[in-house]
């Protein structure tokens, strides 16, 4: 079976960059975890994008006459206490989870990388101060800190994204810092200084590209944490507000009907679990492929 490199090489002149990417693609495909994780995430994105098409029923229109019906052919996941189709709500809920996950972590990546790189590369007082600050922020359990922020910001989905970005920034900063520290000690950074490069150029051209790998891994792992946190916040009533079909919120409502209509919590729960497993597997798989010794923070 031809490797990706050979396949690519047949159609395009094989430059070094393409060869490196196709090597990565080969390894990625060889890693089962990464493949499954990627497949799940891809499926999720497709579902989220096509949600309005896939969902057969409206997510907010109530229909009391059909409330808390068990799963059937018309209602694959059953109906909830207000007669809404659980399947449609779960499908639409994927948009919310993805929005929160990607949104929060993109923000965290942006701010966290800058902080971490500065701290790691410059060292000294800057490093000490920034890291004490990050340590202090990490001293608060994520959900607790997010809760507190929601009080100040007001319970609303967009604020959840903001709060979670703030909460997860230190974890990204830590990873960026340790990657930058490791890079700083590499001889080729020293060689760049000896060549006469400016600090700015060194950080951007020599250090940052080599930090991309651990950041990518940590980022994808953090997406799953963010999704879990949003679920918790919504479960507590401080995240998305009704009638938003957030999975966490659905479980909140469903908890009261657990004995008689367990499908109200089981299906949203499965959705959360599957999504998180997908991102976790992707993150783990990426870690194996990119560099088994990559240093990440488990939070």
């Amino acid at each position: 079976m031809a490797t990706a490199a050979e396949t690519v090489g047949r159609y395009l002149p094989l430059t070094a960059r393409r060869e490196r990417f196709s090597r990565f693609a080969d390894q990625f495909r060889a890693n089962t975890k990464a493949k499954i994780g990627f497949a799940i995430v891809l499926a999720l994105v497709v579902v989220a994008v096509l949600a309005p098409v896939i969902a057969p029923y409206s997510i907010s229109k109530t229909d009391i006459s059909h409330r808390t019906e068990a799963p059937s052919v018309q209602h694959l996941f059953g109906t909830d206490s207000l007669g809404r189709d659980v399947f449609s709500r779960v499908v639409m809920g994927s948009r919310i989870s993805l929005y929160v996950g990607f949104g929060a972590i993109s923000g965290a990546l942006l701010v966290g990388t800058v902080i971490g790189l500065l701290a790691g590369y410059l060292g000294g007082m800057t490093d000490e101060l920034l890291m004490r600050l990050m340590d202090a922020a990490m001293a608060f359990p994520p959900v607790l800190l997010a809760l507190t922020l929601m009080v100040v910001l007001g319970p609303e989905l967009n604020n959840v994204v903001l709060a979670l970005a703030f909460v997860y920034t230190p974890y990204i900063a830590r990873v960026a810092r340790s990657a930058a520290l490791a890079e700083r000690n590499e001889s080729y950074v020293e060689a760049a200084v000896a060549r006469g490069e400016s600090n700015r150029r060194i950080v951007l051209a020599e250090v940052l590209p080599n930090c991309a790998a651990p950041l990518l891994v940590q980022g994808s792992l953090n997406v799953s944490f963010a999704i879990l946190s949003e679920a918790s916040l919504s479960f507590l009533g401080l995240g998305a507000q009704p009638p938003t079909p957030s999975w966490g919120l659905m479980i909140n409502t469903g908890a009261g009907f657990m004995e008689t209509a367990p499908w109200m919590i089981i299906f949203p729960g499965l959705a959360i679990g599957l999504t998180v497993i997908g991102f976790n597997m992707l993150g783990d798989g990426l870690r194996d492929v990119l560099d088994p010794k990559v240093d990440t923070v488990e939070a």
């Binding site: 202090a136 607790l144 009080v151 799953s224």
Partner: protein, 317 residues
């Protein structure tokens, strides 16, 4: 070793300072809220202003901060707006119950994950390893509150073995405390297992690949001795830090779990505080939780030093 302890404690103090700053800033972004909360939305601007002056809310922020820290150092965390009682008292009442929950959950997690981690490392990539990894994976992928709910569904509602929630003080009925503890501690413990297990596994794998383990084998030591005496003693060191971290992570989980199980601890208290926008109570709760986190990290650092003679004795390189 002495120098190490002093240094670590020094860092703790500095971080604690930043913790108070964060706690203060986060809860005081909109100072007008407090007066609004107390007097309600129909209050007149004049009475709001009067109340603000009375509560000292019109002073510049740094001054308010210093005043607040000063009170903190004297053990005064202010008065709860909702309960009209000293915050410190409320927390002192509820904290031990959460500690009980967190400690039990961590114990469950450690008893499960460390042996599993060792076993997985020794049987790397074979069936038991894959199964254990899968088990751990599932544990962290589902939100804690869902494990709680499912636990209630299965063990309380369907099987009727355990109560659905609530708390019984040990002084009244120790057995009752235990039965009420099983589900929440189990749910939380299950969620904590994954990281500890993974850390144990990867630490063991790394140690099993070192030159000194190879030499132990080359000396003719039997496999069991190599794993337990040579490898484990080294591998356990980083695991200790993860356990401490997970212990404090448990406090994040209590917020949600206590709500599911109606467990009257600090999590539930924080939730009420948040729902009622009771700023002093919120501040008190998050600072106490952060302090517990930092203390458990310090404990982990000290244990680390105890286990690793390179830190304990310093000395020539």
């Amino acid at each position: 070793m002495y120098a190490y302890v002093v240094r670590r404690t020094g860092f703790l103090v500095v971080t604690l300072f930043f913790v108070t700053v964060i706690a203060f800033v986060v809860t005081n972004i909109l100072p007008g809220n407090v007066a609004l909360l107390i007097l309600g939305p129909n209050a007149s601007p004049a009475s709001m202003h009067a109340l603000q002056t009375q509560l000292g809310l019109n002073r510049p922020l740094p001054v308010q901060y210093l005043d607040w820290v000063d009170h903190l150092l004297h053990g005064d965390m202010g008065t709860s707006l909702r309960f009209d009682e000293p915050v410190a008292t409320l927390i002192a009442q509820k904290l031990p119950r959460s500690l009980l929950l967190a400690v039990s959950a961590t114990l469950v997690a450690v008893c499960l994950s460390v042996p599993l981690g060792i076993y997985s490392a020794v049987k790397q990539n074979q069936a038991p390893d894959v199964a254990a990894s899968l088990f751990a994976f599932v544990g962290i992928s589902v939100p804690i509150f869902l494990w709680g709910l499912l636990g209630i569904l299965v063990f309380s509602v369907w099987l009727g073995w355990l109560p659905t929630g609530g708390y019984v003080p040990p002084s009244k009925d120790p057995v009752g405390t235990l039965t009420h503890l099983v589900l929440p501690a189990g749910a939380m413990g299950f969620a904590l297992t994954a990281y500890i297990m993974r850390m144990t596994r990867s630490s063991m794998l790394e140690v099993l690949g070192t030159e000194y383990v190879k030499l132990a084998r080359a000396k003719g030591m039997p496999r069991r001795v190599v794993v337990l005496r040579h490898a484990l003693r080294n591998a356990i060191i980083p695991v200790v830090t993860v356990i401490a971290f997970q212990f404090s992570y448990a406090f994040g989980g209590v917020v949600v779990l206590e709500s599911v199980f109606h467990w009257p601890g600090i999590g539930q208290l924080t939730l009420i505080a948040v729902q009622s926008r009771d700023i002093p109570l919120i501040q008190g709760c998050i600072i106490v939780v952060a302090l517990i986190y930092m203390l458990s990290n310090l404990a982990a650092d000290l244990l680390y030093a105890y286990f690793d003679p390179r830190i304990r004795y310093g000395g020539a390189a």
